[in-house]
Subunit: 995 residues, 2 copies
């Protein structure tokens, strides 16, 4: 029997490296095989021919990676799962194994829906067939891809079955079977990876297709499409080359659309395309359909590693390790005449959630045409008198029978998947084929509405409705957004750091922001990066744009906390504060006072003022939130420090304040001088003088917050950040402090210099300040307890304050500080004037667990703490040795190359940081059974983090006010997840028990 | 029965607060009791009178600390242990319970040696009777001390027994018993705490004493001594007040010494002293001897918290929690005539270790007189013709009988304690009393010599000899030191960062250091602080002084590594580099080029050139080191990167290089430009160009080191520090890089600005650099493997290199870097030109565990690592959230106030950081049984750290070359400690088993 080595020969993939694939296929063995015609025309005999064996081109011994990989991975017998209507090899299809597309196709096959038959190459192959090192831009050699032997034989068998099922033969010169080869990851990544359609065409099969369909135009149109796709996906040639030839041809023949091209033109085009391939790669277009298939499968797997896909995964926290599956299916043709069509429909409106089928289609077209937007598609449902909408005839009118089938399929799919479906279909000569179905991407509004309505329809339970909405997406409902109809002329792009849209005049400093705001103008503050000193300026601005920093930079965190739109890391932006000019991009500059619009949800900056629409809070949202509150176990608190923030938190459902950062109150213009005097004091007297000025201000702050919260718990953190953050910089600032403190500017400058730190994050901060300068915490405690007394007296109701000591690394530190706090508190509460209200003041002392050592010794620390609050920002910084402010230089690189799956400042690093949190929770509770545990870092509203918090038994999470609804929903989902795990364990345990 | 409330009333102690004790004793109850005469004169009846009950002056409820203390501490029945020759209440005395002094007295009592009888108040009382909060300078109120009831009754009983034993009655107006009250901590802290002698004297008992001894001068001399001691220790009055009166009186009566004062003068002095007490405190001197005793006991306990004691503990790593005991003993009088004396002897010479009794005494004097140095003491052993020594008559000549007893006691004590003893004694009218014995403080030389000789004498085993020498002290033997006879005029003091003495001219920059060095001058480099750029300048200097930084700052670490004398944290020093002037102190300035001398062992800076003596390496040292090498289990490696350092490490016994920091080679003048070009490169081409320049240099570095080590293992760490450490600062530096890289200075400056980091310790460094710019590690690996090949070829012997990847936080990082290293290595080793030597190159890849996350996920990381090296510097920084460079601002405060016991950068924080190391070792070995484990932080030669390393089964420690002997001895001690624990466990297990 003839052995054909080419199919499975190791061929380095060109993209994304510079070495063209064809260099390798020019090796004699490949060339020889390429010119070898198929040995037989009958379906079964052609398939039974062995396709090839592994011929490694690089000796494994010389490359440790390759060799160890080859040794390590155990032999997996099954890579391939076939399907056809009424049958699926995979009896319990999962997206993890088959990818989302493959899983849906297998399921629809089981439902006997009309899917074109095919087979799925599982995700477990992806890691084997791709090489992550090729994603590294520095790599200069292509890595070959080896097909395991068992894969080759599985493909042979599946092709045989497919041929039998369709009644066509792959590569046949009389009755050719054409294939589509599509990627399909376990998580939807639309458009990120590659697809090749019409595979199996060559100079002979195209003729057979023409003859068989009696439609040469269709055959050559398919061929030219295949040629350009293959050239792009497999050979890495630029699309533009083929598009230009196509448009040239249309001009030459004076055709309006692709479909108008005559046969002659299409044939010329086919020759032109083949010429491009030869001249660009040095090798003629591959005529052997088996080599076509092998190379295409490899290329589609490899597209998992393309830069687009990497970026998408980084942004969407999709682990690289998931891998993609590849779906190989018999082609059906929406472009085979006027009774053929291709299109997409949604089982409900993905924009509003309204329960009404919504979709578009194009007659006589292939899938790519809909996406490409060359022709305007027709609606599926008849349009009734809506102005401005297409007057084209709907499918309801044009293909009433198919329309009825579509409606039936839509209902069946929704009933089966119990979710809004996004369905791709093709109509071939009046016959409907479903190519793909998946849960529809939808706006937060649509997600909420459809989930609540489906519960009403009895389709899903409340738990399922709660699980249906991505908590994160709720933020969309809380911020004004840009009207999606408005055209955007984007001049710069950065990271979508805080959602919401805002228009305003550009200000380059807090001073000018204030100046514009005083004139009643909305302001967009543009800064290189922000620091705590900019907080006031950020507060009066509608939006913030920074050139540096990431999704969790100072600007991003503060903006999200304040609910300001924010874009960070606009690397194209350079600011000349002196000239008052900001260059948004190479060619676009604006001056202070010019108007721009930013969309914090997309990271886009646009010139001029664009219309925004206010936040939408529909009835369904309120219903869902009620369900969430009933369902969740954990308390949801807010990180807030101004009365305004606290009020907002309350209105968004916060049950208390989990983190009130006292230092955020220190930057007000009327306070900063006293704060600076306090820091730079060289003796207790000057420091005490400064503290005496601050005491009434802090007392007033706390009074307002406690009043707003009406007895709900308020956790107040004592001064935490490095003192140097408050230091003066400008001469006039030094002068103001010098006047206030009664010392010379030179002395102050020397003291400011002396307090400079190499790594302020790890320096004199938190309780270290409280121990070295006990006056400071004493003043803050006085302010807190006096405020509590004031509010208790006024309201005659219980006031509940928790005093939190930050940056503790040992129980001894906490003990010292707690003793001072207790002393101050008991002195105030036992004084005769406060005697009658003292019983209304409930106060406790606890600590932040934000250092690894605190977590490791939590059992000891719990002896002195009534509660732990996990400060996961700092805990992440220290556990990973990664400064949030400096991570930008490598974190993006890490995310893209898959070194890490998620930004650990956005979603808790459960393996590392989470281990410490879990340990601390356990050891803390061992010491103190009723220890209250809260997580209050930026990750407090992240769903996976909340699920983890629920799992390890935390009592509460705390997050920015605008994230409170997010956390409420996430907490409900966490409770559901936990119950599901418990239920699984119970049933699993029961079955184990019965064994 | 009459109840006397005063003795046990709560009395706040004045020192170190400003509230005089007497304010409290002016309360009516105390006053009344003070004027109450003892109700009986017979020993037993006076004692059986209950001394008092607790009368708290502050309501516990108003002070949470006090109240919770009062509730929490369980009743301890036994606080007091009596002793007299032939008897000790404590049958197995321990220093932990009785303090060192008390333990020795109890033991000597058991040995029937002549000790004055008395009793010991145990260390367990210390924490109860002292208040650490009073050590906090901010405290404004004194904390009262409460005697537990059971203590009062135990003292009563003991006083009765003591009276019976001595035949005198405490407070008797006819036959008074006088007491000494002395502190005694479990660890020797000579002179740090307080002592009161002659307690029990008042206006009546002094007369009785005079009458009974027929020596009024002696009685009043004792009384004036007691008055001044009591005033100072109990009432916190300054000594100077009393000393001035004494010297005035001597002038008035024209007396040369105190002993010459006539009775009249002494009586005047007593009146004067009582007047001082009344006028300074407002209250007359306390006549009630029981109140005297109570207050004195409280004050001596409280002296555990005095600033001197706190500082001593901080420097010597003595935990505050140990507490002191208090020894109350019947007085014996060395000042009762010419046949009386007081003195000190050592069983061997504490300076040289020579086995010969050595000591001094004074006739007719009390202990304080010897210490005060008012009279020149006489030698105990006859002096034979040694020029310049005292011609005074020795004890051997003056008191031959006593001398014989002294020699006998010395021998008995050495036989019993099996160590060199430091003994205090008093001779009262020809009778010898031993007041105290303890292990003698000795020089390193003496310690080594006596230990080795005692083994030879059969007194101790080799293990005991090894345990007898403090590993740390060995450093004294390795550095030149100042002659101890030379007078020092200290002008500034800092932290003793690196031992050794050095004289030289002051240089304020590396440039001027180089300038002076070229002229053949020795240089002392004075800097605000040092950075890696100063390394070259430090290398050519003899000593380094910095104004900032601690014992483990950059300057300290590098200086110790190079064996340079170094003083850090000279806070009084200010440098004006422009003017070339350094102000060492308020009043002392020196110019560049002026000569100074520094003593790195004491932290002292002196003007001018002082004589130094070279390092001493005696035979006994070599013997001890041999024993240590035989005894230890762990390998001792060195942290070294220059051939010079590596050679030194080898000569000091290192078995390999545990940490070769490649970046230390980057600062040479001929390399830094290329390094900077590499860092600031904006594309691969420029970076590759720079790397090509560096490759041959690094290859040469590694070749030399591998040649020196002759096949011993060398662990080379790839580039670790934040890149910005290498950035240029000066214009000419930028220009040099611009020329080299072919880009403009402005572009370079912009790139340098962009790479600035907020917390560089947590930024782009270690393997992050290696992943973002893989070319850099690739170059370093090439250099390493090429060097190994070179050396293997030349020597025809095995070369053993371990490549270490720094700052790994996840196994994925390590996997990526390891793959690159393996690729580079196998390419070089499999090339045809290297084929024949490749088998001689043993190379492995491992990682540093220096981040909490790495430790937490060590089980995973071990999959990719052949070895772990614990980088405990960084691991401490991140686990504690404490930047080594910035800790100075609070670490000293923490050590002094007992928040922490030790500098965690000097001795591993076993509770926190150690937990991570242990976890990582365990999990790592679970994954890979033969995983090699090494500890290579600065703590690698610290004894407790080494003991811990042995306990958890590490294979090796690595430290600076000069610390290698320290680590060798520490490792031997660790092996001994472990065996002792194992033996204890075995015997303990056996006894448990038999129960």
């Amino acid at each position: 029997m003839y052995t054909k080595p080419a199919f499975n020969a190791a061929v380095p993939l060109g993209r994304p490296t510079t070495l063209p694939l064809s260099r390798c296929s020019s090796r004699p063995t490949l060339q020889a095989s390429a010119s070898q015609p198929p040995s037989s025309e009958s379906p079964s005999s052609s398939i039974r021919r062995p396709i090839g064996r592994t011929i490694p081109l690089i000796k494994p011994a010389s490359s440790p990676t390759t060799s160890s990989d080859a040794v390590d991975v155990p032999v997996e017998p099954r890579y391939l799962y076939s399907f056809r209507p009424g049958h699926s090899d995979a009896t319990h299809p999962t997206a993890a194994l088959l990818g989302g597309k493959g899983c849906a196709l297998a399921t629809m096959s089981q439902m006997s829906l009309p899917v074109p038959p095919g087979f799925i190459l599982s995700t477990s192959l992806c890691a084997r067939l791709t090489s992550s090192s090729s994603s590294n831009s520095s790599s200069t050699t292509a890595t070959p891809i080896l097909f395991p032997d068992s894969l080759t034989s599985q493909i042979e068998t599946a092709l045989a079955a497919l041929s039998d099922s369709v009644g066509r033969v792959f590569g046949s010169a009389t009755n050719p079977l054409l294939l589509s080869v599509r990627s399909g990851a376990p998580v939807s990544m639309p458009g990120m990876m590659d697809t090749v359609l019409n595979l199996g065409l060559n100079d002979k099969t195209v003729e057979a297709l023409a003859k068989q369909t009696d439609n040469a135009i269709f055959a050559y149109d398919s061929y030219r499409r295949f040629l350009s796709m293959y050239a792009n996906v497999v050979l890495s040639l630029p699309n533009a080359l083929f598009e230009k030839s196509l448009s040239d041809m249309k001009s030459q023949y004076d055709c309006a659309t692709d479909a108008d091209l005559p046969l002659k033109a299409l044939k010329q085009l086919v020759n032109k395309f083949k010429h491009h391939i030869l001249s660009e790669t040095g090798i003629p277009f591959e005529q052997d359909v088996f080599v076509q298939l092998r190379n295409t499968i490899a290329a589609v797997f490899q597209s998992w590693q393309n830069p687009r896909a990497q970026t998408y995964r980084a942004i969407n926290h999709i682990p690289m390790s998931l891998g993609t599956a590849v779906v190989v299916q018999a082609m059906v043709f929406g472009n085979s005449g006027p009774t053929s069509a291709t299109g997409v429909f949604f089982s409900r409106d993905p924009s509003t959630g309204v329960n009404k089928l919504y979709g578009e289609f194009l007659t006589n077209a292939q899938g790519e045409d809909v996406v490409a937007g060359i022709r305007t598609p027709q609606p599926i449902v008849r349009v009734t008198n809506v102005e401005g909408l297409s007057k084209k005839n709907s499918m309801q009118e044009v293909m009433p029978d198919v329309y009825k089938q579509v409606v039936d399929v839509s209902n069946l799919l929704e009933q089966h998947f119990k979710d809004v479906q996004d369905v791709e279909f093709t109509v071939e000569k009046g016959t409907l084929y479903i190519l793909q179905t998946r849960a529809a991407k939808r706006t937060a509004l649509a997600a909420v509405r459809s989930a609540v309505e489906m519960e009403g329809e009895g389709l899903i339970s409340k738990d399922e409705a709660l699980k249906r909405v991505d908590p994160k997406s709720l933020r969309q409902l809380l911020h004004p957004t840009l009207d999606s109809d408005v055209e955007r002329d984007v001049v710069a792009t950065g990271l979508p750091a805080s959602p919401g849209a805002a228009s305003g005049v550009v200000a380059l400093s807090c001073n000018s922001a204030e100046f514009f705001a005083q004139q009643g103008l909305d302001v967009i503050l543009c800064r290189e990066e922000t620091s705590p000193e900019d907080v006031a300026g950020m507060h009066i601005s509608k939006g913030i744009v920074t050139a540096r920093g990431g999704m969790t930079s100072h600007a991003a965190v503060v903006a999200r906390g304040m609910g300001r739109a924010c874009i960070t890391g606009v690397s194209s932006m350079t600011i000349d504060e002196e000239k008052g000019v900001v260059k948004l991009d190479e060619n676009v500059s604006v001056k202070e006072g010019d108007c721009v619009t930013i969309d914090g949800a997309t990271g886009q900056v646009m010139l001029g003022k664009l219309e925004t629409k206010p936040a939408q809070m529909c009835e369904e949202f309120k219903t869902l939130m009620q369900w969430a509150d009933q369902r969740r176990d954990m308390t949801v608190l807010a990180n807030a420090e101004t009365p305004e923030d606290v009020r907002r938190a309350l209105s968004l459902g916060a049950e208390g304040v989990g983190l009130c950062r006292t230092e955020h109150m220190f930057f007000d213009a009327d306070r900063i001088v006293a704060v600076r005097q306090m820091i730079l004091a060289e003796d207790n007297e000057v420091r005490t003088d400064a503290l005496n000025k601050l005491l009434p201000m802090q007392r007033q702050d706390f009074t307002e917050i406690l009043e707003v919260m009406q007895g709900r718990p308020v956790t107040i953190r004592l001064l935490d950040p490095p003192l140097h953050e408050f230091l003066p910089h400008e001469q006039h600032e030094f002068e103001a402090v010098a006047r206030s403190a009664g010392v010379s500017v030179d002395v102050l400058k020397a003291r400011a210099d002396a307090s400079r730190e190499a790594n302020p994050m790890l320096g004199l901060r938190g309780c270290r300040v409280g121990i070295v300068y006990p006056e400071i915490y004493r003043m803050q405690t006085q302010a807190i307890v006096l405020a509590a007394v004031d509010v208790a007296r006024k309201s005659d109701k219980v006031v509940c304050v928790h005093v939190m000591v930050p940056f503790v690394s040992s129980v001894d530190e906490l003990e010292i500080v707690r003793r001072e706090i207790d002393n101050v508190a008991s002195t105030i509460l036992s004084s005769s004037e406060n005697e009658e209200v003292a019983h209304l003041v409930q106060y406790t002392v606890g600590t932040m667990i934000e250092l690894p050592r605190a977590a490791l010794t939590a059992g000891e620390i719990a002896r002195q703490a009534s509660f732990f609050s996990f400060g996961t920002n700092d805990l992440t910084q220290t556990t990973l040795g990664m400064s949030r402010d400096d991570a930008g230089s490598f974190l993006q690189n890490y995310l893209k190359s898959g070194v890490i799956d998620r930004d650990p400042f956005v979603s808790l690093d459960i393996e590392g940081v989470g281990m410490l949190v879990e340990l601390a929770a356990k050891e803390g509770r061992k010491t103190r059974k009723d220890l209250k545990l809260c997580l209050c870092g930026e990750q407090g509203a992240d769903k996976d983090t909340v699920v983890f918090a629920q799992k390890i038994g935390l009592d509460a999470v705390s997050c920015s006010p605008f994230f409170v609804p997010v956390a409420r929903l996430a907490a409900a989902q966490a409770a559901i997840v936990q119950q599901e795990i418990r239920d699984d364990a119970t049933s699993g345990g029961a079955s184990t028990g019965s064994m």
